[in-house]
Structure formats: C-alpha cells, structure tokens
Amino acid sequence: MKKSYDVIVIGSGVVGSSIAYHLSESKSKEILTIDKDFPLSGTSGSTQAWVWVHNKTPAWYGELNMYSAELYPFLERKIGDVEYKRTGGIAPFFSESDRENALRLAEKQAEVGIKVEVLSRDEVLEKEPALSHNIAGATYSNIDGNVNPFRLIELYVRAARKNGAEFSFYNQVIDISKENGMFKVTTQDGEYFSNQLVLAGGPWSKSMGKLLGVDVPIKQVRGQIIVTEPLSPLLTHTIGGMRQADNGEVLVGYSKEEVGYDRRSTLDIIQDTARMAIDFVPALEKANVVRCFSGIRVMPEDGFPILGEIPGIENGYIAAMHSGITLSPLVGTLMTELLVDGETSIDLERYSLKRFNTIQSIG
C-alpha cells in the first residue's frame, strides 16, 4: 500500500464508501478509505435501509432527500443491483386530529415538488390491506422506497476499487495531524499522508473530530430492530416503522435511546417494538421473531446533515448525517464536486459545520 494519497476518507460506511466511489469515477484522484472495522460493521449494516423522503421537514430538507432518492436508479445502472425498490411510503396516523397536520405537510412539500397524498382509512387499507383497521389515515408518497444496505455498500466498495480507489480495513485511526500542508493520518498499521481529508465516520465522527480539535455536535442514538422469519408477501409498501424485505423477512423498529455506543438489545424495547408491530399489522401476531439487532445512529444536534468544509481546517471536510442510506448518492456526488472543483451544484451553506459555532482550536 502506498503512503501518500490525494484524498483520505475515514470511514467506510454508506457515506464514506459513496464518497470514495463518486470520487473514483473521475479517476483523477488517488484515494484511500480507512475503516476501524469492515464495511457494514457499524451503523450502515444495522438499518432498515429506507430511502425515505416524504415526511422529512422542513421542506428544504425533504427536497435534499428527494434529489438523492431520484439518483438511485442511475446509481444502480453504474454500480449494479442494490435491490433498490421504489415501493411508495406510507406513514399511518391513528387520530383524526393528525389529518390537519398531514394536509399542511402535503402543502409544504408540494412547494418543493414532493408529492404527498393524504389518504383516508379506506384508501390506506386499499393500498396496504395488512394494516390495522384502527388507523385513521396516512400520508403517502410514491418517492419512498428501500434498498438492500449490504448490497449497496458492497457495490460502492467494489466499484470504487475497480476505479483504482484503495481501502484499508480493520485499521483504527489513532491520530491526525498536519505536516507541511498535508494531513498525516496515523493508524494502528502505519502512517498515511494526503492533501485532502474527509471525515465520514458516522457516530464515530465525534472522536475523529477531536483528533483535529473540532467538536462535531452529534449524538449517538440506539435503534433496536426486530426481524421475523421469512413470511409470504404481506406488505408491499415501506411503512412508517417497518418493511418487508425481498426474502420475506419483516423488519420492525421504532426505538431511539441515547446510550452511547452500547449495541445490545434489551427486552424492554424488543417487547415494546413487538407490541407496536402488532398494533400496526395485526397479522404479525403469529409471526416468529428470529433475531433482533441494534444500530448506533448518528444524530446531529439539530437533526440535519453536517456537510462540507471543516471551518479552520484547510482541505478538511466532513460528512455526518442521520439518513446516510437515503442521502448517500447525493452526498457522494456533492462531496466529489466540492473536493474536485471547490464548489457544489447545490448550495451546502445551510449544512455547514459553521452553523454550530463550535470550533475549539485550529489544527
């Protein structure tokens, strides 16, 4: 392995791998992606993997998600079958009082071109007969869907490698410094140098930021998901909280807990989740649960992605966000524009780390 690169990306989850892949497309940069473990071992491998747009608010944030979702079909043509399915998304509500909020959401999202329908109970049940008759209605959009996260990240990595990008796995970053204008990344396996550096460590971005003297204002949020045995076709849409995978397994998850990096499953949450599953889809009562898993999600303090240059660190960049699966095609594209051309086709100002005003020292 070489020692010196144009770009080092730290983190090979969905965000880091996408950035590495999109950068590699131009074949103009020598790229190294470093991960402390292996792709899918962290957040990106423990998700329901929705490509979800329609009720993300405010509208400008929904719009960003929409642009990214629209890139999926093109991405698939380039890197291969990631089992992306635009199933349409249903977010049920249980009380009539929510209908007004739903209508207001539809109106706001329409302003940026996201088509949201507010469905009556009967309309929802016609679309998705397995849902509970206790629902009052739902918001619906055909832009939503899901993807197989395992295939997605595997194919990002394979495609990037094909374009000459290098990856180093099981290689923990210990220190980052600047020497003669270049970044020096010290890992357990050695030292690597680069002109540009991208932090894409998901929930671990916080500790990576510390190495640069930068506070990355994100929290770790645990989500616990239960998985059933393969069932015959039951759900055709992506539903708020659950979806059915290609192999028939139904994934259900609602929880969010701030417990640091603890990735255990607890029966308290598992039982609540099982209750919710039955309340949403009564037929799941008879399903067998085979396993549960937890993921540590990134949650920026204000909920919105942190994207772009790191203020005060020349040639240093960050990409940390909650909805990495949905946003990865767009984020990979925009970060490539930024690293190669210095500017982006969509203004990232509002997503800058600057908004938090938390720069402690300059590295």
Partner: protein, 111 residues
C-alpha cells in the same frame, strides 16, 4: 473439499461464498455474515459457528483464538411476536411527522 459444500444450512451458504467474502477483505464472522447472510437464519449460527471460524483461520492464517464467535442475538430461540408483545399495553403512537429511516429523526415543522 468441494467448494460447493454447504456450510450454513439455514441460508444455504457454501464454502465458496464464504471464501469470496474473505477475499473481499472480511476477516471476522460478523463481517462475513453481513456480506453473505451465513449464520443469519433461524439457527443463528449455532451450527456453523466453528465451521466458519475454521475456514477464516485456514484462509487468513489467523489463529482460532483470535477469531471471535459471531454476535448472538436476542431472542435466544425463535419466539412468537404475540409472546413478545404479551404483558405489554398497547401504546400505538402515530409515526406521523417523523422521518424514520434509520431510527427516526423528529423535525417539527417550523411555523
């Protein structure tokens, strides 16, 4: 041995598929599991745990003591959803207004 020999019976994963994952750089059972689904089925790797560890060891030269078992998942043993939900009061909350991709964010519309 014939590379098409099944290792994980639940998900029908053979030696060749496990070796391909190792060739891609996966050196732990958990990482191989996510790439191949080996050990993800109903028996939850009870059967293939040490078979896969042996293949990793042979292929990568790591000692068996350095190859950990896969993460074991709750519930231990296949469990009915209705049993899990027993003694839990119904608590339907609307997920409306939340975006719920990997755990749910909660952005209230600013009016």
């Amino acid at each position: 041995m014939d590379k098409s020999t099944i290792v994980c019976r639940c998900e029908e994963i053979n030696i060749d598929e496990i070796e391909s994952a190792i060739n891609m750089g996966a050196h732990t059972f958990n990482d191989i599991k996510r790439l191949t689904r080996c050990g993800m089925g109903p028996c939850q790797a009870k059967f293939c745990m040490n078979l896969v560890r042996k293949i990793i060891s042979e292929k990568t030269g790591q000692s068996l003591k350095d190859i950990k078992p896969p993460r074991m998942r709750v519930p231990l043993g296949v469990t009915r959803m209705s049993a899990l939900a027993s003694n839990k009061a119904s608590s339907v909350a609307s997920v409306f207004g939340e975006s719920a991709e990997e755990g749910e964010t909660d952005h209230e519309e600013e009016l």
